[in-house]
Amino acid sequence: MLLDSLKSAVLLMLSFDRELVEIVLVSLNVSLWSTLFASVIGLPAGFFIAFYRFRAKRLVMTCLNTLLALPTVVIGLVVYSLITKRGVLGPLDLLYTQKAIIIGQIILIVPVITSLTIAAISKIDKRYRSTALTLGANTRQMSWVIFREARFGITAAIIAAFGRVIAEVGISMMLGGNAKGFTRTMTTAMALEYDKGEFVLAVALGIVLMAFAFTINLVFHFLQGRLNSDAV
């Protein structure tokens, strides 16, 4: 049965099935936007936490580590309670839209990007900071030097976050509602097809998902090689 499904799935992919393409595009759309917004929040936050000394630093790090293990259904529930008709953000009418999925996914991966950015920045030799300063850099220019030197770790953080959101199912299901053509992502579609006992589309989407994961890792390793050869 698996082999038959696999064969049919490959044919479905080769024919660029409209439904399949639509689902993949929705997945990419929400994942890319959530990764982008989460990066805008997580990268500066990670840099600040790694770079500056402040009283509650250890507490903030502990909270971040805890948030890394936050189940997607918990995020789904919290965001649902906010955007449901009777919720604080109810008037915005976000429930069962791609925006709702994006909000949930941002909450999911901000801790991932922040934590990995902290790790990447902390690893950077302290001499980069003093060298930039003694050469006349102001705080912004010095921060850019650190960011530049930590770019491999930061790229890894963004890629890890993207991998996390493209493969998650809880938030997309609870906040998106799995509406065909609107909020149906690869993972929610696979869950639905499994429920229906229709494996062909599920297997095809599984292959696409695996192909994404493989491509991302391939690009990552390519970048790693390039960036490592840049390092001193």
Binding site: T131, T134, L135, N138, R148
Partner: protein, 345 residues
């Protein structure tokens, strides 16, 4: 005054690494910091580079408090540059590194290109300009770091053990550059070293640090270590190296010190310069050399004469006008016996 440090301390957690009662450093001079590991040399350099705020006490640079009200820290810090003992280069090419300090100062590209080429030429790294810094040797990294610092044309160049981990040939290159930068651009140089020979060669003054405190502070120009070759009633010949000997006045060394190493200092105020035909008087010795540098110092003129080693002569304006030597002139340097003092260390 360039720097004035008063009751300055620097503490890391419970450990006090610097405790300086008073230290004044003048413009355009070369200072050497000497001391054992952990004496506080690097910490003092970081303070002078305005990279770290003192724990207590005061530090003024060009008469201003860098951490005071008005926030002049960046402006003042841009007049100073520190080259680390183990410098780190930013990833990218040699060019990118050397022009970094110029880019952050928004220097136009033409001027940047000129300075990058000039400074890389100075350190003998012209051929590496477009090379990725990955793969440079330790000595090459050090030379690029020096070029990167020089490109800024700082008022003060701070070097933390500039010749550490560098082969002998390139040690000489680095020392020569430091010497030239001070002489040609009148840049103040403050460097730490473990080598007395380097401080004697380059520094006007040597500051000896022990346990974070200044244990002594002395003039090192015209201060030499040499082996006695010959010592009699007519003259004293000493050797600074296998290939270079010079004469001191008779009577400086009274003991039979042949082959002994002696440390002596020549008072620049007691020396005289004259025509090459100058005849030695009683109690004086004459060495011939070339004028390398002439600099005005308040009411005096400092003339550096190369007689195989560099010797500084301080003349009052009248004496200077009488002899009027020019850079490159061949002159006679008269050393009276009273100008030479034997040191006991």
């Amino acid at each position: 005054m360039l720097y004035e440090l008063t009751d300055l301390t620097k503490q890391f957690k419970d450990r006090q690494v610097l405790d300086i009662d008073a230290l004044c450093l003048k413009r355009k001079k070369v200072y050497a910091l000497i001391g054992p590991n952990g004496a506080g040399k690097t910490t003092l350099l970081n303070q002078l580079a305005l990279l770290e705020k003192p724990t207590s006490g005061s530090l003024t640079f060009l008469g201003r408090d860098p951490w005071g009200v008005g926030n002049s820290l960046l402006e003042l810090r841009r007049k100073v540059v520190l080259v680390d003992q183990s410098p780190i280069l930013f990833s990218g090419t040699v060019r990118k590194n050397v022009e970094y300090g110029l880019q952050v100062r928004r220097i136009p590209k033409d001027e940047r290109d000129r300075r990058v080429a000039h400074c890389l030429h100075l350190v003998g790294m012209d051929d590496f300009i477009n090379q990725d810094v990955h793969g440079l040797s330790g000595g090459e990294v050090k030379r690029v770091a020096l070029a990167r610092a020089l490109a800024i044309e700082p008022e003060v160049l701070l070097c933390d053990e500039p010749t550490a981990n560098v082969d002998e040939k390139h040690q000489e290159v680095i020392l020569r550059i430091i010497e030239e930068v001070n002489q040609n651009q009148r840049t103040t140089i403050i460097f730490s070293t473990h080598f007395l020979s380097q401080s004697r060669r380059l520094a006007d003054q040597t500051i000896i640090l022990r346990n974070g405190r200044i244990s002594s502070y002395r003039e090192t120009k015209n201060s030499f270590m040499a082996r006695v070759v010959e010592s009699d009633s007519v003259q004293t010949v000493v050797s600074l190296s296998d290939s270079y000997q010079f004469s001191l006045p008779p009577g400086v060394i009274t003991r039979d010190d042949r082959d002994e190493i002696v440390h002596f200092q020549i008072d620049p105020n007691e020396l005289a310069i004259g025509d090459v035909s100058m005849v030695p008087e009683q109690g004086k010795t004459i060495n011939h050399g070339v004028v390398k540098r002439i600099a005005s110092e308040q009411d005096r003129v400092r003339i550096t004469v190369d007689i195989g080693i560099s010797i500084d002569v301080l003349l009052d304006n009248t004496s200077y006008r009488a002899s009027s030597p020019l850079v490159g002139d061949r002159v006679a340097l008269a050393i009276p016996s009273g100008a030479v003092t034997l040191k006991e260390d």
